[in-house]
Assembly symmetry: C2
Homo-oligomer: 156 residues x 2
């Protein structure tokens, strides 16, 4: 159940509840990013939202993404290749990350909840979030990577 399944009203209320103004820019960015499950980068979010708001700035995108993270509506996923990607799925799940084409797809991991509960009990660690990535080569990149791919063209 992502926020993007909820109404515009819900987004506005979530912002206001934390004292943030519901500006058109923020609403546009929220609507976009909460609905894109491809784990877009800030630049991609910027390019997409720009179509609707041509005057928007990249700094506003970054600042809104930070707000969304603070509201726990998205998760930040930094990668080696210096490009952070953003994920509207904040529930425990696995990101399958292709090192060749950069595609990231979610897969379910129902056992995560009990695992986390167990860990929080056995350690004295107060858990607030998690990240589970699996790296490798997706189906379409897998074949090529055997013969062609070297470390040079890895995307992440």
């Amino acid at each position: 159940m992502y926020i993007h399944e909820k109404s515009l009203r819900t987004i506005i209320d979530a912002l206001r509840k934390k004292g943030y103004k519901a500006t058109p820019q923020r609403i546009a960015i929220c609507k976009y990013v909460l609905q894109d499950t491809t784990h877009p980068s800030a630049k991609i979010v910027y390019q997409r939202v720009r179509k609707e708001y041509p005057t928007i700035s990249l700094a506003t995108v970054y600042q809104t993404l930070k707000v969304l993270k603070e509201l726990n509506l998205i998760q930040e996923l930094p990668f080696s290749k210096r490009e952070t990607r953003f994920d509207p799925n904040v529930n425990p799940h696995i990101n399958m990350v292709c090192l060749k084409c950069g595609k990231i797809v979610d897969i379910n991991f129902p056992e995560a909840d009990s695992l986390l509960k167990q860990i929080s009990e056995s350690t004295r660690f107060r858990i607030t979030g998690q990240r589970i990535d699996i790296y490798g080569f997706c189906e379409v990149c897998g074949q090529f990577s055997i013969s062609i791919a070297k470390n040079k063209e890895k995307m992440l």
Copy 2:
């Protein structure tokens, strides 16, 4: 079983096998980073190795860390706060990451192997690595964070 349990000879051989020269700088960096389980940043590695090699440069540290990653002897762990940390434990395990003090400790996750095997079979994804992080507040930071910590002073 980390490499640091092995001999100097083993490190040198690992480098040479891939066509890398075993320079004193590289050996010093390898010896240090393969034995530090606190997940140090590049800067920390630099500061530590500097004590033995005062003329070493940060660029050399970065380049050697890249080599070690290529040899699959360490893992790179980028975080939100723009400071990548390095982990000599490349086997599937869980990183418990404290958002207040930045401490990262490994905990075992024996079920990971079968989970990964199962996923690689059910998807057509060729797995080459993984990363499992749990974020929150460690035992010593946990209490304070209730009253003091805001998002401002988060380390990662």
